[in-house]
Symmetry: D2
Subunit: 341 residues, 4 copies
């Protein structure tokens, strides 16, 4: 921690800060500058009480941590890329996977049709929502367990592992009995009890960044999962909320590059939720590949105009085929292996 | 819903849109404009399938809902102010209450001391966190049930009703057995299973706006609680995340004025979390009263420099006394009654 | 400047940083921490080359300035409040002034009528735009010099000093020959050539915060004016751009409190542009007084429905009268003197 | 325009709105819905007074424009891509150009060295700032005309056309006599007098998006230039200001895709200013190519650690060589021709 004191602080007030620092078991080092005195505080910031509360002392101008708060997810802790195994698929470490499927599981026919068609175009995992976190209580809330049963049939029919969202700690065990990957949605990005519970399931977790989540908060949410004994985490960037509303969110591809640098975890991108409009999904998917992502989540529906949720952002099967055709050469340029290829 | 078609849309394509609209049981009315044709769709938007998915049709330029999505919380539904009863206190409808207490319940002594002193200065409810949603897994996570026991003692000693946060659906019953008001924190502002569970408790719910929550989303979260049979909701503005970082969040007092106009619910303000720094709490508290809020949440700690969480934003008891002294005449100007006065 | 080195940096690489620091005439002090070495760099950051470019060295993790960049506008430089004289009015230092008038000067009748009526309700300065910075080239761009002539007549008729915006360095001399206070609009908040030119006019400058201006940038824009020899600056908060769109901007009243603490300059608030809707202007005006502002800018139009610009945010004369009635007792609570009172 | 009336509006009040609409020469069409009446107003919104001011009528709930405000820059106005000629280079329409050079022209040696090296790696235009818009008055403000003279020498030595910023209307003629492309910086994105003046120069204009500029505002700024008779505009996305601060700005690549769809103008990307840190420039450059941009602006400095401005974001020459090597195959995948190739 670096504590900067206000100009003109008396020797006695400097000493008071040094004493407070010692009380928290840091070692203070005083640096007398031109205008200000700085107290550098030596000690492991993760194991000690934060000194940030010393800002309440009248002679303190600022308190700045110098350590990063996350550890287990960091490149410093593990230099090599994490490679996860999902039903025999390798995720991360030079592979590139496309997870595709409808926003919501609406019924058996829609789900099975979508699963087969996305597989035919090269998707290697299948997604579909059975529990839907909707902004309005009057919107379709998902089929629940019935939806999970349909997903199970889709896996049986196609062999594609299933990615689906879980919203409540109480549902984790049930959802985990159907899913290959548990998704934590953007609205639950800091839902600590849920993070603890999914960690305990032992499943691979796909962790979306919060709607207004700082990259640091996103990595700390992953750290929560790791601290609870499960390091099988895929990070997923899905756009952040900004002032711009031409798209529903602003896809932050720099976050992908930062996350790839700071952590050893695979990083996926969800261009469908980022854009909120189908006509932006393909260009953003290409850009996601080029920035260095390890996979994509893409929403596909046989007839988006009649979808029960987020119809405007779902691709028709042929459009999904075009997406796959357009990303394939960029995946190659990036030196990655697409799907099972 | 208003559907705007692209310039030069053929008669056949106009008809296709009209047919799609009919299929969803709206009645289409065509308006031929100078450059564009508009399809006005008549039907209750809350009971019908949304037409927003029609944006995927190539001839559609935009689809705009015209109804508000919330109903039970709206002034249209109930014109008069909701007045809640909490252990004999009237909340809303011309009263003004200050909820004060520490960020976290740290131990019995700190909690009891704070409860007594905030009461002496005029607080009418007591707050303290037993379950703490922290960004980092290495930070203090709260005392849990032990903290609730301490809060119970504080109520016994002072008579102040207790406001405390609940983070998990599984904990609702237990927390509700101790608390007078259940708080939903900003990170859980769209945690649908939790909203349903607290609604079922029958308690008064203090619902914070999400860190990046639109006012519409905040009101829809309240609508979720109402739809689940509990209309005892207090809205609480606590600052939103913006680019500015002089304060931790940007207190959005226009949201208070908008919420007072759009809904019949009481609206409180939490200047402590908004500011994230103690020296901004008092001016923001004054402004919150003047904009028309019905109450405040203020963090107070006997010794903020040693606090286990958010020390930098907590007031010392004397500073809290000053806050009460400064808001009192503004509460009067606003024609409201402060606390039990 | 505080330079944090990456864990495991070799002694030689530490020395390279220390040498680089010396080359820029700072004195480096090494602090060996638990995981990281910190280089505290002693030297006046305003007179020296920034060290921030050292982030390009591979062993450097972060570089953090510790001095504030502004000086002349700071409370450290001048402890007492600046009090400005505008045609005999004292601005700042315990007074409270309301500047009112139409968004645009549209014609003589509209302008004169508004000037008289706002004066009758207690406004002490008159505002009106002759040069209008509009988002679209197809919108009304203002009357230019003809508008200034009308403003001159309004001053002659009412005695109210004139506040009006100038957008181009070439127009400063002309506008200054008509206006008592030159306004720098939010779009020009970092227009350096314009800041230099208005400084040279010797007029009082009302400096709006940029649409997405950090408080630091706002104060540095004021510093530009001071550096060019003119310290007669009024800061004006007018809302910032955020994700929320219930109002056009989000009024940031914490910025007022921060600016009052950090600087000695008067701080005004423009609730009309912040809200972008007339029905939020009065509550925000009350809050602005209560947070500690020294004045308000309020838009008033005899018939807002027919206004040539921003009709939706302008108050009718009677509504302005209500605003004055509602803020008066709060100005008194704040211990300030309203207008000439 | 679509005007939505409040539920329960009387027939007389409906008629009042219809009459107001007629007064502004629109033709009103009434649609009686389930809860609300809608007034669809027929008329060209660009040639008529806006109806948005009717929001002040008490019976009006909302007023929504349905036309886009820009025209000359739109795909509706011109379907084919604009292709610009700059000293024989074709910009847009299937070409891809990299503009490279230092943030600031610091001296002759640094500038000439950089120009030669970026040319050797494949840059086809040279950039360098002579007039620098700096946040602080204490930072390096650029060499002014001396800098322009050095740029002239760089062009003479390398044949690379020059891109440089102009900040003041008074300087346009002078800067235009040196530059091949005039750059409008993000801080001047809505500086209307400057937009008018650069339009009059007849030069190609590189128009950066504002720091918090909506895509609509960016396109309207381009429309200003076109309305003033100059349609030679290159749009340039350079990151927007959001809550995230891992990078200085958030590069918004969806804005590139939206701009490519909405307009016929070439769209460039500046990953250097977006990132504000050199280590993110290459991945963002790759992504910019893949999303569909027509060119890049990249900052390069022989020794970034000693740069007089923005050292932290400038690439060393070898890093720039790596950038060119990494984007080349993606430019090919996109079916574009890189530089003069």
């Amino acid at each position: 921690m670096i504590i900067v004191l206000k100009p003109g602080t008396s020797e006695q007030d400097v000493q008071q800060v040094a004493d407070a620092v010692k009380k928290f078991n840091y070692e203070p080092r005083l640096i007398r500058g031109v205008e200000r005195t700085v107290v550098a505080c030596i000690g492991d910031e993760r194991n000690h009480h934060t000194l940030e509360s010393l800002i309440v002392l009248p002679q303190v101008e600022s308190v700045t941590p110098i350590q990063k708060k996350y550890k287990l997810v960091s490149r410093e802790y593990q230099g090599r890329d994490t490679v996860l195994d999902v039903a025999g698929l390798k995720i991360g470490g030079g592979t590139f996977h496309v997870v595709a499927g409808p926003c919501s599981v609406e019924n058996q026919a829609q789900t099975m049709e979508t699963a087969k068609v996305v597989k035919s175009y090269g998707a290697t995992l299948f997604r579909g929502g059975a529990f839907k976190p909707r902004t309005s209580p009057y919107d379709f809330q998902g089929l629940g367990r019935d939806g999970l049963e349909i997903l199970k049939q889709a896996r049986a029919a196609t062999g594609l592992p299933i990615v689906t969202e879980v919203m409540s700690p109480q549902d984790v065990e049930m959802v985990a009995s159907y899913a290959d990957i548990l998704q934590i949605g953007a609205r639950n990005a800091q839902n600590v009890p849920l993070l603890a519970e999914v960690a305990a399931s032992g499943k691979v977790i796909l962790l979306k960044r919060g709607v207004s989540g700082l990259i640091d908060e996103w990595l700390l949410a992953a750290e929560y999962i790791c601290v609870h004994g499960n390091s099988k985490v895929i990070l997923c960037e899905r756009g952040i909320r900004t002032f711009e509303h031409a798209c529903r969110n602003t896809l932050d591809l720099s976050a992908v590059a930062v996350a790839k640098k700071e952590t050893h975890l695979p990083v996926f991108v969800d261009p469908s939720h980022a854009a909120g409009r189908f006509d932006m999904v393909i260009p953003l998917a290409r850009a996601a590949v080029a920035v260095g992502a390890d996979g994509l989540l893409v929403e596909v529906h046989p007839d988006p105009a009649t979808a029960l949720s987020d119809g405007g952002q779902q691709l028709k099967p042929k459009q999904f085929g075009q997406l796959m055709a357009e990303i394939r050469p960029i995946v190659e340029v990036m030196g990655k292996q697409l799907g099972r290829a």
